[in-house]
Amino acid sequence: MASKLRTSSRSQKWRGVVGFTFTGVATLISLGALFSILAYLIIHGIGAIDWNFLTKEPAAVGEAGGGIAPSLLGTAILVTISMIFGVPLGVGVGIYLSEIAGETHFSRVARVSINTFIGVPSIIVGVFVYFILVKPTKTFSAVAGGLALGIIMIPIMARTTEDVLRLVPNSIREAGLALGAPRWHVMLHIVLPAARAGVITGGILAVARVAGETAPLILTALGNEYYPTSLFKPIDEITLRILKYARGPYDVWHQQAYGAALILVFGIAIGSLLLRLTTRTQSAAR
């Protein structure tokens, strides 16, 4: 420290100017990345979006027109299936980590595993579901895709549930227990309702996350040109459609890829906005 004090104040000042300029430039780069991506999506995508785009099946290869309705429907179906798998398991684990886990070996293993699970690449989950569901049933399917997304959802859901449950003051739990209520009753009728907004927020976050997943779906849901007819057949999803159109050679496809991406990002942005509003009301209530 002494050596730094000895540096003349003029060189310190210059270093400051240069340093702060760099931080400003870095921030502009970060913001610039966001704005250029959004700008490209809007400029190239807005022209693709009309009523037909939202309600029609894809046109024949390379032809203009056609829409992404099957992908939108497929996305809704896949997300619903994923919530059926992911929400109960994720919330359950969250309850365990917040309310029950102590200093036992099992608790510690569970905690480390869940935190590691979050970082497992989603394509690995796709490989897993391919082997336990797609290969035995000999077909890609909506159920397989939903299961893969559900598995990815579990640790996200668990983490947010744990966090919001910890925000519920212990005095509330103790008040319930002191009135003679059993623990499950306190959990179900006092703690969970108190944390409801936060749990829902976590759900939105998890849905936003899995709605943008593509990699595991290549191995499980595969994609489809038509409306879904069965949960046990290949199904389309919006990110699979974007992937296909982005890689294709046609300008029409590229434009539709931008359009679909714009819809996807918009949907997720609305979700995150809701998220921000609900978390804000919750912290205000605290």
Partner: protein, 325 residues
């Protein structure tokens, strides 16, 4: 299972007497604990499936798979070294770009910007995290790669190429460099938010002590705040590294595809994750499939190690719960 439930019952002593006699509570604990078991079983199942899937390739190529090159689906000769090198190259390259820009951005957001701007700017950068990776891939493939091809890659080839062979490649556009840049953008929000959270925790007294010693603002930021937040920043970097190693679709769309060791940064190649995504539905034989799963197993082991490391680094930071990934 029984012992776990028993442990669980004793973990909150204030409830012990009541819980013991209550049937509803026993069911509640059993349900919640078995959910945890199911999830742990899925986690273990992933590992088991990967090992069984990779077994034929492991029997044939052994651990040599990791250090050999060559990817020949016709003669069934496989080696993952090019993908492992590609994964490291792309992840490290993206970390260098995103680490520098991200840390400086975090410093700017916490120390430079006026208070009323801090929230909105942070929120905007967090928005980057909500953009799905396929959209990054779309942008990378259709906008960024052609742009890099015309500008950066041309420049590198002409000015650095003759002297440094690593930059002496043909500017294809898609390739390692494009994958690195797009991945760096994807890592930015993670690095900025986590570094910012660490920088915010620096106590004001410590900074004031620096000012009291006559230091300029930049010296306080660079020699006091950043070193103080070091653990949190390292944690952020390790988490981002884990993400970088596993990122699949955006990389698969921008890296071009190729089965050889990278010679220059403009080459086309694969990472472990992107080779699975792009080749999985093209497999022509069981051995090919098994070799891809072997790649997945290597990726799984690497990311699990990195994430466990990140978990312990982040946890050491303090008893911290608001610290999210």
């Amino acid at each position: 299972m029984a012992t776990a439930t028993a442990d669980v019952l004793t973990s909150r002593p204030q409830n012990e007497a009541r819980s013991r006699s209550n049937r509803g509570d026993q069911i509640y604990l059993a349900v919640v604990t078995s959910i945890v078991w199911v999830v742990l079983a899925i986690f273990a199942g992933i590992f088991v499936v990967l090992v069984t899937g990779a077994w034929p390739a492991f029997k044939r190529f052994g651990l040599g798979f990791i250090v050999h090159t060559g990817w020949d689906p016709v003669h069934l000769v496989f080696g993952a070294l090019p993908f492992i090198v590609g994964t490291v190259l792309v992840a490290v390259g993206a970390m260098i770009l995103a680490g520098g820009v991200g840390l400086l951005t975090a410093v700017c957001v916490t120390e430079v910007l006026p208070r009323w701007l801090q929230g909105p700017v942070t929120w905007l950068i967090e928005m980057l995290a909500f953009i799905p990776s396929v959209v990054y891939g779309l942008f990378g493939l259709l906008v960024l790669a052609p742009l890099l091809q015309r500008t950066v890659e041309m420049w590198l080839m002409i000015h650095l190429g003759p002297r440094i062979s690593f930059f002496n490649g043909a500017p294809y556009g898609v390739g390692y460099l494009s994958a690195i840049v797009i991945l760096a953008v994807m890592l930015l929000p993670l690095i900025v938010t986590l570094s910012r959270e660490a920088l915010i925790l620096v106590p004001r007294e410590i900074k004031e002590a620096g000012y009291g010693l006559g230091l300029e603002r930049w010296s306080v930021v660079w020699h006091i705040s950043v070193p103080f937040a070091r653990n949190g920043i390292i944690g952020a970097f390790v988490l981002a590294l884990g993400r970088a190693l596993g990122e699949t679709i955006a990389v698969a769309m921008t890296i071009g595809g190729g089965f050889e060791l990278p010679k220059t940064i403009m080459d086309q190649g694969y990472t472990l994750a992107s080779v699975i995504a792009n080749e999985f539905n093209e497999v022509s034989s069981n051995m090919y499939l098994s070799a891809l799963i072997y790649c997945g197993l290597i990726l799984f082991v690497i990311t699990v190690i990195v994430n466990i490391l990140a978990y312990f680094i982040v946890r050491r930071l303090s008893g911290i719960h608001g610290f999210k990934a």
